[in-house]
Symmetry: C3
Subunit: 438 residues, 3 copies
C-alpha cells in the first residue's frame, strides 16, 4: 500500500518538478490539470484587476525563455537548465550590457555557494537573474553580455482549483495547499502531492465529514478563495495547510492560533500513539495560508504537519530543495500521518454510559478474560484473570462516559491509543453499555 503510494508520489513529483510555476500563468494551469486527474478539481480563473479584500489580482506572468550569453554566444546562465535562474515576475529584457550594468540584477546566496536562490517580485516591476555564488564568481567581469528575458506580464487570470468530497456528518474540514513555486520539491511540491494522496485515500476509504480540497497560489490565492467563498468558508470546522512535508528531517506540528483545538489534540495524539517525535511550533502569523484562514474575520483553526518545515532547513527556497531532498516514501509516510489525524476527527464522538451507576460486569459479556492469573487484579469481585489492556481501557471509557468527555479526552487521560478506544466504543455500543450522544 505504502509502496504503491510512494511510487505514485514519486511519479507525480517527476512530472510536476520541471514546470515553471508562479502565482499566475500557465505553469499553475498545467500543474492543476495534472493534479486534477486524481482530485477532479474545479478550475477557477479570476481576472487580473479584481479586488479581493485589501488586495488586487495581479497581471498574469508567463515566460518562454531567458539567458545570459557571453560574447561567444554561449549561454552562461540558462533558464532552460533551471527555472529558478529568473526571478519570478521578471519584466522582459533584451539588451547587451557590461557586467557592471548587469550586476545589480544578479542575486546569489553566498552562504550556500552551490545553490541558486529563489526570488520573486510580484508587486514591483523589476527583473533579475538568480545564480549560484560559484557561477557568479566564474563570470568574466570585463565582458559585455547579451541578457534576454522573454517574459510577458499582461492582464490575464489567477488560476486556482477546488474539489469537495462530501460526507454525511454535516461538518466540513479544509485541506489547502499552494502551487506557486517553480522547481523546488519540499517547498512546495510536497504539499500538492500529499494533498493528492489524501484525496485518493479519503475517496477510497470513505469518510464521514466533508473535505474541501483547495490548490492555489499562496497568499493572494488564499485571499482570493476566501473572498470568493466567504459564506462557505465561515462554516468550516478547521483544517490543514499542507506544506513542506516530504524532507528527510523530523515531523513538526504548527499549532493552530487557538493552540489546543481538537485539531492540535488530534495531531499530538497520533504522534504520541505512534511513538514518533514531533516538534511543536506554536502559532506565529508568518508561515503559510493559515495567516489568511485564521485571520480575525475568519478564525478558522488551521494546523500543519510538516517534515522539514519551511524556514527550518538550510536548502529552503534554493535549487538544492530538489528531488534528492524529497522522496516518494516520505511523501507517502506523511500522507499516512495526515490520514491518522483525519481518522481521529472522523471518529471522535461523545458517548454516555448506559450503566452509569457502578461498573458493569464485564465477565458476563465476554469482555473480561477468563483464564490466567497474576498480581494486578482490576476487580476483587471479578474472575481470576490477567488484566489485559482491553479491560483497563473499558474501565476508563465507562468511567469517563458521562457525556462530558469525548474519545480524545479518553485517549489523553487514560494514555491508551485513540484507535483502540475508538474501536472499543463501537463494541461497547453493541453491548448496550454506551450510547452516542454527539
Amino acid at each position: 500500500m505504502i509502496a504503491t503510494e510512494a511510487n505514485f508520489a514519486s511519479d507525480l513529483l517527476d512530472e510536476l518538478f520541471p514546470i515553471c510555476r508562479s502565482i499566475t500563468g500557465n505553469g499553475v494551469r498545467q500543474t492543476l490539470n495534472i493534479l486534477s486527474r486524481t482530485m477532479n478539481l474545479n478550475i477557477h480563473e479570476i481576472p487580473s484587476g479584481k479586488h479581493v479584500y485589501d488586495w488586487v489580482i495581479p497581471k498574469e506572468w508567463n515566460i518562454n525563455d531567458a539567458y545570459i550569453a557571453d560574447h561567444s554566444g554561449k549561454r552562461v546562465i540558462d533558464f532552460r537548465e533551471n527555472n529558478l535562474h529568473v526571478m519570478s515576475y521578471s519584466t522582459p529584457v533584451n539588451a547587451r550590457m557590461s557586467f557592471d550594468e548587469l550586476r545589480p540584477h544578479l542575486q546569489t546566496l553566498p552562504e550556500i555557494p552551490d545553490a541558486i536562490p529563489y526570488r520573486t517580485s510580484y508587486f514591483k516591476e523589476d527583473w533579475a537573474f538568480c545564480l549560484s555564488q560559484k557561477q557568479l564568481d566564474g563570470l568574466d567581469k570585463n565582458q559585455f553580455y547579451d541578457v534576454v528575458i522573454d517574459s510577458e506580464i499582461k492582464n490575464g487570470h489567477l488560476t486556482l482549483g477546488d474539489s469537495l468530497l462530501e460526507g454525511t456528518s454535516g461538518k466540513e474540514y479544509l485541506i489547502s495547499t499552494y502551487c506557486c513555486h517553480p522547481s523546488m520539491a519540499n517547498d512546495n511540491l510536497s504539499g500538492p502531492i500529499v494533498s493528492t494522496l489524501l484525496y485518493k485515500k479519503l475517496k477510497e476509504r470513505g469518510h464521514y465529514h466533508s473535505y474541501r480540497f483547495v490548490v492555489l497560489p499562496e497568499t493572494i490565492g488564499a485571499i482570493t478563495y476566501l473572498s470568493e467563498n466567504e459564506t462557505e468558508m465561515q462554516k468550516l470546522q478547521g483544517g490543514f495547510v499542507v506544506t513542506t512535508c516530504g524532507g528527510p528531517g523530523g515531523y513538526g506540528h504548527k499549532e493552530t492560533f487557538q493552540g489546543n483545538h481538537e485539531l492540535d489534540r488530534a495531531v499530538r495524539l497520533i504522534f504520541r500513539d505512534a511513538n514518533t517525535d514531533l516538534i511543536s511550533y506554536p502559532f506565529v502569523p508568518d508561515g503559510s495560508d493559515e495567516r489568511q484562514y485564521s485571520s480575525p474575520g475568519f478564525r478558522i483553526p488551521v494546523t500543519t504537519i510538516s517534515k522539514d518545515k519551511y524556514y527550518e532547513y538550510p536548502y529552503y527556497h534554493t535549487s538544492l530543495d530538489n528531488k534528492a531532498f524529497v522522496t516518494g516514501e516520505n511523501l507517502a509516510l506523511t500522507a499516512e500521518y495526515y490520514m491518522k489525524a483525519i481518522a481521529v476527527l472522523e471518529k471522535n464522538r461523545v458517548y454516555r454510559s448506559l450503566n452509569p451507576k457502578c461498573e458493569p460486569q464485564l465477565g458476563k459479556r465476554n469482555l473480561y478474560p477468563s483464564t490466567g492469573g497474576g498480581q494486578k487484579q482490576i476487580a476483587a469481585g471479578a474472575v481470576n484473570s490477567d488484566i489485559n489492556n482491553q479491560v483497563d481501557i473499558i474501565c476508563w471509557m465507562m468511567f469517563l462516559a458521562d457525556g462530558k468527555h469525548d474519545l480524545i479526552d479518553m485517549a489523553e487521560r487514560s494514555g491508551y491509543p485513540f484507535e483502540d478506544i475508538s474501536h472499543l466504543a463501537d463494541r461497547l455500543v453493541e453491548e448496550g453499555l454506551l450510547e452516542l450522544i454527539e
Copy 2:
C-alpha cells in the same frame, strides 16, 4: 496514646488474621462480628440471586477443609496451614488423581518461589490449589494424590456492615473498607483495622460532620451497598477508601477522580505540615471501591491514604503479606494521618473579616508581641518587636478573609500549618475580627 492504639491494632490483627474470608460466607460474618465490638455495625444479609445494578449477588461459599495427600496419607498441601492454599470459591473435590491430572489445578508464583499466591474464581465454577513454587518443585510427579476440597457453594447471602456516627453539620463523609481477603495483613486487614481505629477516635474525640462507616466485600459489596442505599449515598460530600495502609513503605495518596477536591487538598496539606513525603497516585479507574463510588452515576469524591499501596509492593496478594509485614505501630500511625485529614475537613470554614478596611491594630488586642527587636518588622507603624509567626499568620488570615477563601486556601497560600490557622481563627472570632460565614 499511640502505643495503646498500636497494641489495640496488633491484637485485632492477631485475632482477624487466621480467618478464611471470601466475598461471602462465614469468614465475613465472623470478621464483621469482631469489628462490631468497637464499631457497633449494623449487619445486612443480602440474598444470593438479587440483582444489584449490572450484577447479581453470587451464591455463598464456605469451606471446612482441603488438602492434597500423598500415597502415604500425608497432607503435602494443607488448607489448615494456610487458607491461601485453596483458590477462593473452589468447588468441592474428592478424588484420587495422577500428578498430571492435578497439575492444571495448581497455581504458583515462580517469581517469588517462597510465596503462595492468592487466587479467586468468583464467577466461574472451578477449583484450584495455590502453593509456593518450592512446594510444587518438591512434589513427586509420578505419584497419585488424594485431592479433597470440602467446600460448599449454595444459595445464601452476601454480608456487609455499616455504622453511622452522626454529627451536627449536616455534612456526611464515607469511610469504606473491604473484608473479603483471606489471611493477608496489608491487603486487606490494614483497612478494617485502621477504620476501626478511626471509629474509636471519632467517637472518643467528638466530631462535627457525620461519618458513615462501611465494611464490605470489595466490588460486589460496594455495588450492593450503593444499590441498597442510593439516595443516602448521593448526599455524601466525599470519603475515604481505607486500604493497604499498614506496610513498612512510604505514604501514598490516591487522588480523587476530581483531582483537586477538598479531600485531596486536605491530604496534601497534612503531609506538607507534617513534613512527611507523600507519593501521589493520580486517579485511575482500577484500584478499589472508589471505582464504584466515583462512577458517573455517583461521582462521590473518594481518596485513599496508603502505606505500601496495592500493586506497588512485591508481596501483594501473596502469603508473604503477613504479620511480619504489617505492624500495630504502622496501623496506629496511619490512623493518626487519617484523623489529621479528617480534622481539616472538620475545621475548614469560610470566614469574613469584620475589619476589612486596612489591617487591624493587633497591639491593642495583645496579638502583637511587645518585646524584642529585630530586622524584619511587619509594620513600621507598629510596636517595635520580633515578628513571630503568629503575627504573620494573622496578617495572612485577615488579608484573605474576604469570604472567598477558606482555611485550606489560607494554609496553602501562606505556607503556615492548617492547625495554627484553624486555632487562630477561633481567637480572631473571639476578638471580633472575623465572623464565620459558612
Copy 3:
C-alpha cells in the same frame, strides 16, 4: 537627562538625609515642605486621638537633643551625631544612672558590630538608645552616666501630603511613598525621591491618566489617608508603593495581591524588553502600605519596583543604609523604570482591525520594505524582501486585533517590545488598518 536627574536626586538626598523623621512631628513636616517644592503637595494635619478604622492617631513626638554622657561630661552617645541613636517615640529622660540601670535601655545589633540599629516604640511608652555593638563594648560598665532625652510626646497632629496630576482618561493610579524613617537612605528616602522624580517627569512629559501622589507615614499614615479619602480611593485602578529602590542590588518586583494584574504584566514586560533581570516577590501581606491599599475592603492592586528590597539587604534598618549605599544615579535609573511601566499603562489600549478578513497588503502602504532578499519570507505573495521586524510586528498586531487583545497581550504573545507595538499602533490607525475601541 539621566545625569541631570541623578544630580537632582543626589542633592535631594543630601538635603533630606539629616532630618530626624518619625510617624509624626516636625521632621515629617520639614520633609514634606522640601518635597513640595517639586510636588506641590497639599499638606494635611490630622489631630491626635482621631479614630481611623481600627486605629487612633497617636500623640505627636518631637525631639531636640539626646545623649549619654560619662562622668567627665563627654557625650559617648550623641543624637546630634546620628538620630538613629534614639529609639523613635522615646519618652523624655533626664537622670544619672549606673551602667546596669542603663543597660536594659541600650539596643545593639551584634551581627553587624559597626551598625546602629533602627528601633521604634510608637504605641508603647518606653525609651531607649540604639548604638553599635562596638560602642556598647567600649562603654565603662562601672561608671554612672548622665542620660538625657529631650523629647516631647503630646497631642498634636499626624502630617501627610498629597498631590493630584489630573489626566483626561478618566482612570487614576496611585503613587504612594512613606516618609517616617530617620536618617536612612534606601529605606526610605529612596521612595520619596523617586516619587518626586516621577512627579517631575509626568508633569514635564504629559500624561493621559491621573496620578495621585501621596507621601505619608507608613501604616498609620496610609490607614489615615484611606479613611479620609475612602470614596476617591475606591475608584483607583491600581498603583505603586515606591520604596527601597536606590540600592546597588538587583531590581525586584513585589507582585500585586491579584498576581497577574495589568500592573504586574507592565512591570514584567518593561524588564523583559530592557533585558534586565528582575527578582519576583509574590505578594505577602507584610511589607509596606500595599497591606492597607489591597486589604479586603479596598483590594486596590498595588505593586512595587524595588532595588535592594526591604528585608533583603544586610544593612536594612541600620545606620549603614546611608548615602554610601544609595546613589543619585541609581535613583534616577529606578525612576526611569517606573516611568517605563507607567508608559505601558498610559499606552495600553484595545484596537480592532478594520481589515479583519485576511492580511492587509503592506506593500502598497509602504509598510513592507521593497529591497533586499533573504531566506525567510513573510509572504509568498509579497514583494521580495528582507523580513524585518516591523513587518513581523504588524502581522502579529493585525492578527491579534480582534478586540479581545490589548497591546500588552500583543507584546507578550509576539515577544516584541511594547514600545514598538505601541508606536506601530498609531501608524496602523493612521493607515486606516486599526481603530481604537477602548
